[in-house]
């Protein structure tokens, strides 16, 4: 696959999952935007998460048939604010507050002797279909990998900004388009007989996977949440290397090609470097310059851990019950 093979067209609008997403989608189709009250909405549920996800997508690639200018439509932004408030309030309620960033990082850097989670399942027992389900859902983030975090760049200054850009530069292939992580991810999708078109699996992706991405967009798009964005970034960069190694080993166990495993192989090595850079060149100077951000850095770390655990729980429970972890099944893998 070459870069020119990946379609750049905006994806179609998804199907609604309830009254909130129906209201947002109607609004984006130009049928009037009237968000119903959020009183009974599950802040982590499919309806609210899809509604919020669609509002945020206007800041990335947009949707086919929705004018680019709607990104700054005050009606959309007002509705988005309601959805964000509900999601953020739930996270603030469910994540214990703290301000000791060093202790938080130390805890993240200890590897359990008996690790658990989807990467362990996929390393040891998972089949190719479960790998495909995992990758299809993760595509909502990885086909725009590093983009939500790029929004924080102008909100930082000095050494922390330079450090964060060093890591982001590596995520974007360090100047080589074919090494961009989103491109390596698209190549893996093709190797797994998945469609690498941006947004292709939005309808299939359930709320737990969406919530991890909406959290990044929420923190990236609000300067007031810049500390939480850096915390989220740190949590991912510090924890992804061991899990990526397990995913590489799982793919090798299943005899999948190097094209399939290259994305995670790259992350074993890259995130070992990024961990060091995020701690030494992003967090340390950020907290020296703005010590008041410590509590939000901890919030960002803990909220991403909470959302990652919810996603992991959803995957493992679905697979344990022998069912798909997607909302709609994938097309079968073509014979090779």
């Amino acid at each position: 696959m070459t870069l020119t093979d990946v379609p750049v067209a905006a994806p179609p609008l998804p199907q609604a999952r309830g009254p909130l997403s129906a209201a947002v989608l109607a609004g984006l189709r130009g049928e009037g935007f009237a968000l119903p009250p959020l009183t009974d909405a599950d802040p982590y549920g499919d309806d609210l998460q899809l509604a919020l996800y669609c509002c945020y997508e206007l800041h990335y690639r947009g949707f086919a048939g929705v004018a680019d200018e709607r990104e700054w439509d005050p009606v959309v932004l007002t509705g988005r604010r309601e959805l964000e408030r509900a999601f953020l309030a739930a996270l603030r309620r469910d994540v214990p507050a703290g301000h000791d960033v060093a202790a938080e990082l130390d805890a993240l850097l200890v590897e359990p002797v008996e690790p658990a989670g989807p990467s362990v399942h996929l390393q040891r027992h998972g089949d190719v279909e479960q790998f495909r389900e995992y990758v299809a859902q993760r595509s909502l983030y990885h086909l725009k990998e590093a983009d939500p975090q790029a929004f924080v760049i102008p909100r930082l200054s000095g050494p922390a900004k330079a450090g964060l850009v060093t890591v982001e530069h590596d995520e974007y292939g360090a100047g080589r388009a074919e090494r961009m992580h989103e491109h390596l991810f698209a190549r893996m999708m093709v190797a797994l007989d998945l469609d690498p078109a941006y947004g292709r699996y939005l309808d299939a992706t359930p709320a737990p996977a969406l919530a991890e991405v909406t959290f990044m967009s929420l923190c990236g798009l609000h300067r007031a949440l810049r500390g939480a964005l850096v915390g989220q970034f740190a949590a991912v960069e510090l924890t992804s290397s061991p899990g990526s190694r397990r995913l590489v080993e799982g793919m090798q166990r299943l005899g999948l090609s190097a094209d399939a495993s290259e994305f995670y192989a790259e992350h074993v090595e890259a995130d070992a470097v990024h961990e060091q850079l995020v701690r030494r060149r992003v967090l340390a100077p950020l907290l020296a310059a703005e010590p008041a951000l410590a509590a939000d850095v901890v919030f960002g770390i803990r909220a991403s851990e909470l959302l990652a655990e919810r996603f992991a729980g959803h995957l493992l429970e679905s697979w344990r019950q022998g069912r798909s972890a997607l909302r709609t099944p994938l097309h079968p893998r073509s014979a090779r």
């Binding site: 590897e111 359990p112 360090a174 061991p242 890259a270 070992a272 470097v273 961990e275």
Partner: protein, 64 residues
């Protein structure tokens, strides 16, 4: 001659961090190139991707 000396950070708990693209000579006479802005070289000898760090130096905890 490079304009500035190459910067190497000895982390102590983990890898050496070397700035700039580097070519690394291995004990068997082979070489590997890393084009990253910063490369993390394993010093604990536990890595499964030598000569690069793969975070295997991390402490391990028993399940709680």
């Amino acid at each position: 001659m490079p304009a500035e000396p190459t910067r190497v950070l000895v982390t102590g708990e983990g890898p050496l961090l070397v700035s700039g693209p580097v070519e690394i000579e291995l004990p068997d006479g082979g070489t590997v190139v890393s084009e990253r802005a910063v490369t993390a070289l394993c010093t604990c000898r536990r890595t499964r991707r030598p000569p690069f760090c793969d975070t295997s130096h991390r402490r391990r905890s028993k399940p709680q």
